[in-house]
Symmetry: C2
Subunit: 384 residues, 2 copies
Amino acid sequence: MARVGIIGIGHGVFGRRSDATVQELAFEAFRAAMEDAGIEKDDLDASVIGSVPEYHKQRSLPGVVQEYLGLVPKPTWLTEVACASGSAAIRTAWMSIKAGIHDIVAVIGCQKMTELTTPEILALMGRVGEVQWESVFGTTFPAYYAMFARRHMHEFGTTHDQMLQVAIKNHFYGAKNSCALFQKEITMEKALESEEVATPFHVYDCCANADGAACVILAKEDRAKKISKKPVWLDGMGCATASMSVLRRPNLVGLPSAEEAARVAYEMAGVGPKDIKVAQVHDCFTIAEIMAYEDLGFCKKGEGGKLIEERQTYIEGKIPVNVDGGLKAKGHPIGATGVSLTYEITKQLRGEAGERQVKGADIGLTHNVGGIGQYCFVQVLRRS
Amino acid sequence: MARVGIIGIGHGVFGRRSDATVQELAFEAFRAAMEDAGIEKDDLDASVIGSVPEYHKQRSLPGVVQEYLGLVPKPTWLTEVACASGSAAIRTAWMSIKAGIHDIVAVIGCQKMTELTTPEILALMGRVGEVQWESVFGTTFPAYYAMFARRHMHEFGTTHDQMLQVAIKNHFYGAKNSCALFQKEITMEKALESEEVATPFHVYDCCANADGAACVILAKEDRAKKISKKPVWLDGMGCATASMSVLRRPNLVGLPSAEEAARVAYEMAGVGPKDIKVAQVHDCFTIAEIMAYEDLGFCKKGEGGKLIEERQTYIEGKIPVNVDGGLKAKGHPIGATGVSLTYEITKQLRGEAGERQVKGADIGLTHNVGGIGQYCFVQVLRRS
């Protein structure tokens, strides 16, 4: 069956974007991706929106975005799986092309998080955990991930210092990314001085909400080869779930959904963890990146702390991870994040990542987690 | 390319379901569909949820539903396009099978509308219109559709009496549907006595919010033929958009998205309006059903009022429409509605609709509208 290629990518600036509505953010990324692809609106067959609707005053975004981008009467739809919504959007667009009903599809991840007050956002986010049995006990997102962190420390001797090394790395690269919310480096001293959020996490262990958008344009193989000089192929598309209730998980030191999604994606692409030259993972909290190293097979279970301590996930290391700053420094506009991950790997595989370029990057991976791991999407991408 | 067949269907009772959480509603429909298909959970490859998240205390439904149905670690995702969310879910599930990544997929439309207060629901629904420029002028859903109704009356001489004939028909059939919210017939006198909502609409011109769920199980052709004695084939899958802002529409007497989605679906299935033996359309307001007759080609533009007046959309008529009660009598649990439409047509094509059976029904159609017509999904279904 024909492959699906990425022929255009666009990325807006993440941050407090009071200058733009959500459809304007979508347009910013969409226009960049269309210019990058060198195609016209008439070439598109459909759009897919990755977003979590309830953070916006305007609901049901596909309609308003479709009109603003001038894509009426073409089809559109939105996918939602919490923070993995953008990756789910890419997966359904990919399916629509594989299915033979669309040839070229724009996927737009877009999200405004700053139209609501902080208490409103906290209330909404808490409801993405299990509401009936768990969130009554105060399991906010930092609390859930802090439990993972504590258990990882207990079982493997992982240290909070190692976790903050993840933050330091990601801020180091965020400082070199003009789309990032935080474009400055941090030190261990500064990270430790920051307020404690949920033991062991300080503020610098946590990513920040942001407004933003990113866009990728997918095309079926023959069209992609004609349109693009450097198509990047979506060869592995893993998607898996874990129980929403953490009480029903086999353990708290990793995400079973990530292991399963990675297994599927590697198998589809015919590669293994050792073949991956650069990866973008969902570092909503520092421990999440360490668990991702392990769940994706970049190191053995329990050795993720050591991997970052040895700087193996820097550009010069064994497996560079989040060398665009990650969610940690870029910010996390939830619906846009999945598309941003794919944007960055495409840049890397095209050799266009500038001072953040990983040399010889021919195969890359994205890993995107929804909620507290009830969803995980893993993509394996390959350059021509 | 292989066809996609419906091998199992299930439908819960629509209404004020304070007896069940949203995942329990989902289970009710899912269990019925699995028993109908005669398969086991292990036979399923994935699930897709059609729902509008923000009406629930529990957000990000796929995770909690997937766990409750015992489908972890299989993939899941949610689609949202307002009231058409269930039809979008079916379309993405259909694509996943056509794409060759899944063989058998459960699609569950599920929605609780009664966890919120009426003012909260009104505020949410208003935001599905165009928030920046239109809803500031008070364009709630009844107001939008009342504009369509007034314009239809002005241009074509359609009468409010004709609109209420739609309500009378749908309540007539709703009285014969054990899953319907309103299982009793109404008279013209009763309808006219009801409170005025937005001229010309009275209460009986409007469908009612409800809780509920429906499920259909899709399979690729070879599997469908092995599993089911009476597979029903999804042969035409149209999806189209119109501008969200009604000010930018070419006219207010129909939905351009519906005309386009119908065109695509008919073309894919190789049929025309005259081939359709039974249809389910989105009658959120009485005028919506009349516009659907015209947009789908069941009569000429402007003649929809006459079509119902002549009782041509009753079972004995030229083209039976909504002979399960429609949204009007069944109630409208927004995410579930699209799946409910497909459920009913499948019943009809299998010849299992009992006293509501349309004789000789071999080809059927569903028409589902999102928002105020910014989205429309049309399916053409065929029995073996």
